[in-house]
């Protein structure tokens, strides 16, 4: 008898016990889905984060933790606790080893999206992915105080297009009492989607950032603010007094550590210069403890799923003694009985793992875009990967191995029972 024909018997036998077979498949499938889901979320987040910034050699901000600086300057997560002064920025920008700088000023928001003050250098030098530059999908860059360029998600979700007027909110609220409604901005451009937090950002000139805060120096609107007209504002010096962070590129990448050291130990205003890749590495080190714990837990859950395979086959053995003796009487060798049991376990493992992979793929298909829009980071590499295949193989192999237990029991019984079942 060929192996395929025994597999056929195993399959029919499982289908004859559909209820318990389905529950067992579900247990295996969910455990595999948990394991793969954790793994994909981890790798997807890493790849997504790693993709967010490239080409920037150093990020400079006020002293804080390097992870913190990275999170608020690049990922718009959290807030800066301190800023750096404009003269210090000019000092950094004037260094001979610095090729370019992008000053950024954060702190305001518009209907939940962060507003970032910056200048033309941002569109020139900010790169993501493997060195892709930002691209304006519609319109043009800002070149007046009250103009704004929107990230792709901002435009899509808020339904804004070229010419839309937007009112900025002080701080990060959803809007309301602290609106800068005295000074609306005109949308002049919309960026192409990038799959990074840039999509979630409203970009305005640094001068615009200063302008909307005229009359707000105390943090709330002063009664005088409304009396200040646009013409008066334009006559002021709108050079910012402080900015949040500076992205910079070097003339030669080889000097990166020297420059970092020079900035960190510089006399005068204290600074923190970080290398984005290194800071990300540190972030992953922090999260890897949790990741490992999650992976360990999910491997144990797979073990539980496999135990349920064992339970379902073991509990079926008693009621199947008759079946075994029929098979023996019609010519099945002990090896056939053994293989039948092992094949059932293997089938449960294989089909269960396959289902688990499908659950994860379907889940990512549905949840992936939601995650991307709520975190601004597009999870990467979520399609079928080698790990999916390896997991199916490993779970099937483990199930086959576990199947040896009921197989040996069924074998012993069928040898002892002979042709008649002693009940």
């Amino acid at each position: 008898m060929s192996g395929g024909s025994i597999l056929g018997l195993a399959w029919r036998s499982l289908m004859n016990r559909k209820g318990s077979a389905l529950l067992t498949l579900l247990a295996v499938a969910l455990s595999v889905a948990l394991f793969l889901g954790v793994d994909k979320a981890r790798n997807g987040a890493r790849a997504g984060f790693d993709n967010t910034i490239s080409g920037t050699d150093l990020i400079v901000g006020a002293p804080t933790g390097q992870i913190n600086l990275l999170l608020y300057s690049v990922f718009r997560l959290g807030n800066a606790t301190a800023e750096i002064s404009w003269p210090t920025y000019q000092d950094i920008a004037g260094r001979s080893d610095v090729a370019w700088t992008i000053p950024v000023s954060l702190g305001d928001s518009h209907r939940g999206f962060r507003v970032m003050g910056t200048n033309a250098a941002y569109f020139e030098h900010y790169k993501y992915g493997s060195g892709t530059a930002l691209e304006i999908a519609e319109g043009r860059r800002f070149d007046d105080i009250y103009e704004a360029v929107l990230g792709a998600s901002v435009a899509r979700e808020l339904g804004y297009g070229l010419g839309s007027e937007i009112v900025l909110t002080h701080g990060l609220g959803a809007g309301g009492l602290t609106d800068h409604d005295d000074k609306p901005f005109i949308v002049t451009g919309v960026l192409a989607p990038t799959g990074t937090p840039v999509d979630q950002t409203i970009h305005i000139p640094l001068e615009g950032m200063t302008a909307i805060h005229v009359g707000w120096e105390t943090g709330t609107k002063s009664p005088l603010a409304d009396t200040i007209t646009e013409d008066m504002i334009r006559s002021f010096d709108l050079t910012p007094k402080t900015i949040t962070a500076v992205f910079l590129g070097l003339e030669r990448r080889g000097t990166i550590l020297t420059t970092q050291r020079a900035l960190n130990t510089r006399a005068g205003e204290p600074l923190l210069a970080i290398i984005p890749g290194v800071a990300l590495g540190e972030l992953w080190q922090v999260t890897s403890v949790v990741e490992r714990a999650l992976i360990a837990v999910s491997i144990f859950v797979i073990a539980v799923g496999l135990v349920s395979v064992l339970i379902s086959i073991l509990t079926s053995l008693n009621e199947r003694r008759r079946e075994m003796s029929i098979l023996r009487a019609t010519g099945a060798r002990p090896g056939h009985i053994f293989f039948l049991m092992v094949a059932e376990a293997g089938l449960l493992g294989f089909v269960g793992a396959l289902l688990g992979v499908l659950i994860v793929q379907a889940g990512l298909f549905v949840l992936g875009p939601m995650l991307a829009s709520s975190y601004g980071v597009k999870l990467q590499g979520l399609g079928l990967a080698a790990i999916d295949l390896w997991t199916i193989l490993a779970v099937t192999a483990a199930a086959i191995f576990i199947g040896f237990i009921p197989a040996i029991m069924a074998l012993r019984r069928s040898l002892a029972d002979g042709l008649t079942v002693k009940l």
Partner: protein, 235 residues
């Protein structure tokens, strides 16, 4: 092989779990190549154990069993299994069928395990054709009936399916272990006639085992296990 006696037992001793008090102690038992033999014995007399020994799923402690000329006790386990798969048809008391297989799949089951049986019926159009032919001869032709799960068939129908399965591929020896105990008197007599007819048509020897001595009249010869077995009725 058919000119060999179907069964030839000499000085057979068997005890469960290798114990010292034998359940079976049979000095001699012979059955001819195309004989239809009735073996009578009450429950617990070791009938089923004897059938297990003849079918080669059990091994005696001593003595010899020759089935169709092959000495079962000197064959390896695998060869005994091959022997059973190729040359023996077994019908049980009840619950003869594998619940998750269709009627036809149940009948063709031995062909899955035996190359010889597949070869024997290759000329007849293969296992499925042969199974349908056998079922038709046993009065099971209704397509609707054949399509039903085997667990929904009546006991009589199930037993006829079991006969078809025992007969497929032309075995030389049919072993029936109380196959009529779940049938009423009418169905029982018809079943035995059918079995006898099929055995003689296919030229197979038939060993029919039952506790019910009244059935002996249907057979060529009748033997009482208690007369064969020196160990007596222990259980």
């Amino acid at each position: 092989m058919t000119d060999q006696p179907a069964i030839e037992i000499r000085d057979l001793r068997f005890a469960w779990d290798g114990g010292s008090t034998p359940l079976l102690d049979i000095p001699a038992f012979d059955m001819g190549a195309d004989e239809r033999l009735f073996l009578r014995g009450p429950s617990g007399s070791g009938k089923s154990t004897l059938l297990g020994l003849i079918a080669g799923v059990l091994e005696p402690q001593s003595g010899s069993i020759r089935v169709l000329g092959e000495d079962m006790s000197s064959l390896s386990g695998a060869k005994r299994d091959r022997m059973r798969a190729d040359h023996l048809g077994v019908i049980f008391q009840m619950f003869n069928l594998v619940p998750y297989l269709s009627v036809v799949q149940n009948v063709t089951l031995p062909c899955r395990f035996s190359q010889a049986r597949r070869a024997a019926i290759a000329a007849a159009g293969g296992p499925v054709e042969e199974a349908r032919r056998l079922l038709a001869r046993l009065g099971l032709t209704d397509e609707k009936l054949l399509a039903r799960p085997v667990t929904e068939l009546s006991v009589g129908q199930q037993q006829r399916v079991a006969v078809a399965r025992a007969l497929i591929g032309g075995p030389n020896l049919l072993i029936a272990d109380e196959p009529t105990s779940a049938l009423d008197a009418d169905a029982r007599d018809r079943f035995i006639e059918l079995l006898n007819e099929e055995a003689s048509q296919s030229g197979a020897a038939l060993l029919f085992v039952s506790h019910d001595g009244a059935l002996a009249s249907h057979f060529d010869r009748s033997v009482d296990l208690s007369e064969l077995n020196r160990a007596g009725v222990a259980a």
